[in-house]
């Protein structure tokens, strides 16, 4: 979106994705959005990125809409219904409705055979001899008899692993063919420069991603994140529990202010913050400007040469007491 290569991207629809919290390097994301001709956001919340959209379609929450059946193929497989408990708030609509209405206006009506979510779900359930009423009557869930996952493979004398050896490969000859190390080796990562800590991040059981910080009851339990600093390292910096500091990364990007949590629970060369805070959107009245954002401070990332996964814990921050 920034380089226009291999081809230019001129339109974007963000659905239920908090672009400024999900992706690292927020400044980069904003630059990419500025290159678009059209940007539409579908969300249940007035998140930061929503304010950047040309068109905003407010979505009904999961308690106000039907969703796809929840089909779970675990040890005990089950199919569960996800149905509305209350009517949608104001003019909000479920996303399936938005997509269908847009499709019809684009002359794609043939692709939307079902007029309502109920109709669609009934069609799906009919393949296992069920319908919505029957599923509701049995509590909204149908549990299938489980069977050992390998049974099907054993019957056909096949392996569930798509490897040459048919086994779990710690040493993968297929990687060798791609000129990659067949047995990945640990490569040391850069150490934090003097005065900086490695910025690590993670979750709190109270919050889900960056979308529950404004929920009244959860906000009450945890209204802001704290920066965990090793107790002895904090003492050396003259920082105490509850002090407010700004976090500034190796590229001069700042986030905060954020409360210090001096704790023995973290090593002395790293700090930790819970992901999902530091919201800029004024519409999130409770979460607005509370705590610091890890995504904002992750101006750098590294890509794993084999999987392509992004490593984000390669950023360093220093703590400065709020004036």
């Amino acid at each position: 979106m920034i380089t226009g290569k291999p081809y230019p991207i001129k339109g974007l629809i963000a659905y239920g994705t908090s672009l400024f919290h999900t992706l690292p390097n927020v400044a980069h994301t904003k630059q990419a959005l500025q290159n678009l001709d059209f940007y539409m956001a579908v969300d249940t919340l007035p998140q930061d990125h929503v304010a950047w959209a040309d068109v905003v379609l407010p979505e009904a929450t999961y308690l106000e809409r039907y969703d796809e059946l929840w089909a779970c193929g675990h040890k005990t497989p089950y199919i569960a219904l996800r149905e509305p408990a209350v009517e949608p708030y104001a003019q909000t609509k479920p996303a399936w409705w938005m997509v269908r209405e847009l499709g019809i206006r684009l002359g794609l009506e043939d692709f939307f055979r079902w007029q309502t979510a109920e109709e669609y779900l009934n069609a799906r359930l009919s393949s296992i001899g069920l319908n919505l009423d029957k599923l509701r009557a049995q509590g909204g869930i149908t549990v299938q008899p489980g069977k050992p996952w390998l049974a099907d493979f054993e019957k056909e004398n096949a392996s569930p692993f798509a490897t040459e050896s048919g086994k779990v490969e710690f040493y993968a000859p297929s990687l060798e063919k791609s000129k990659l190390k067949p047995l990945p080796e640990y490569e040391p990562v850069a150490e934090p420069p003097a005065g900086y800590f490695r910025l690590t991040y993670g979750r709190s059981p109270v919050h889900t991603f960056s979308r529950t910080q404004n929920t009244p009851m959860l906000n009450e339990l945890m209204s802001e994140n704290e920066v965990w600093v090793n107790d002895q390292a904090a003492a050396q910096l003259g920082l105490r529990n509850g002090d407010r500091v700004m976090l500034e990364n190796q590229d001069g990007v700042k986030s905060g202010p954020i409360k210090v949590k001096a704790t023995p629970r973290i090593r002395s060369d790293a700090v930790f913050i819970v992901h999902g805070f530091g919201h800029d959107a004024p519409g999130l009245t409770r979460a607005h400007k509370k705590g610091a954002s890890d995504a904002m401070l992750q101006t750098r990332y590294t890509l794993d040469p084999i999987s392509g996964g992004a490593g984000l814990r390669v950023n360093f921050v220093k703590l400065s007491k709020e004036a």
């Binding site: 059981p205 009851m217 009450e220 090793n230 107790d231 023995p264 629970r265």
Partner: protein, 272 residues
Amino acid sequence: MATRYAFSIDLDRCIGCQACVVACKTGNEVPLTDSFIAVRDIVRGQSPNFFGSFAHQRCFHCGDAACVSVCPTGALSKWNGLTVVDVDKCSACGYCTDACPYKVPHITDNHVSKCIACLDLVKDGESPWCAQTCPSQAIKFGEREAILASAKTRVATIAARYPNANVYGETQLGGLGLLMILLEKPAVYGLPEKPEITLRLEAWQQVVQPASVGLTLTAVAVTGLSFIIARRQHLREKAAAPAPAETAAEGKSAEVRPEQSAAESKERKENG
């Protein structure tokens, strides 16, 4: 013998997720800013040698419940081992908040607030919200004997990892209705090994409360007596003068009237 219920909280299993808090608040419709239960993490010591766990602040459902003893209105009472609340009876006096050795009950919105053991669910044979919700099955609810036995089994199981593990609440305050499976000695969790109902409280129970009851009864008696006297006086005054027709409906004055008129006519005759 009546059933005695109890909770247990296993701090080896608790992950501090606060799902119990949210379940309690939604299930019991506890307003925002208030809560019956709270979970906070505790850390003792400094790096690299430290101990971390979770502390639960909530009603212990004491066998000898100080809050029940001091409650002047009966808003707090015992039901099958549980300390239950009737907010309609609460006068918000706050004696329970002072009496509780664990500082659990608090006054909010002009009434007492604390764990109500989800009485409606328990009476329907279900577990309280916190126990139903706990994703790591750290909170259990059931008959106290079984809960205590399983708590002891858990302590034995984790003894290799936590040599100081213990069941808190087996004997304290008449046996608590919330047994804590602690990983360390009670003091580490800020819990008193031998909680006591204070002397002041004993005095309250045995002297002040009976005395106040005595005074109340005296006051009632005096009021009653003065009422009777006043009533008698009132009737006598009424008897002295003819009652107006509208108020004559009352039994006694109606009875009085004929005599009265007879007396009047007799008087007139004599005078005439």
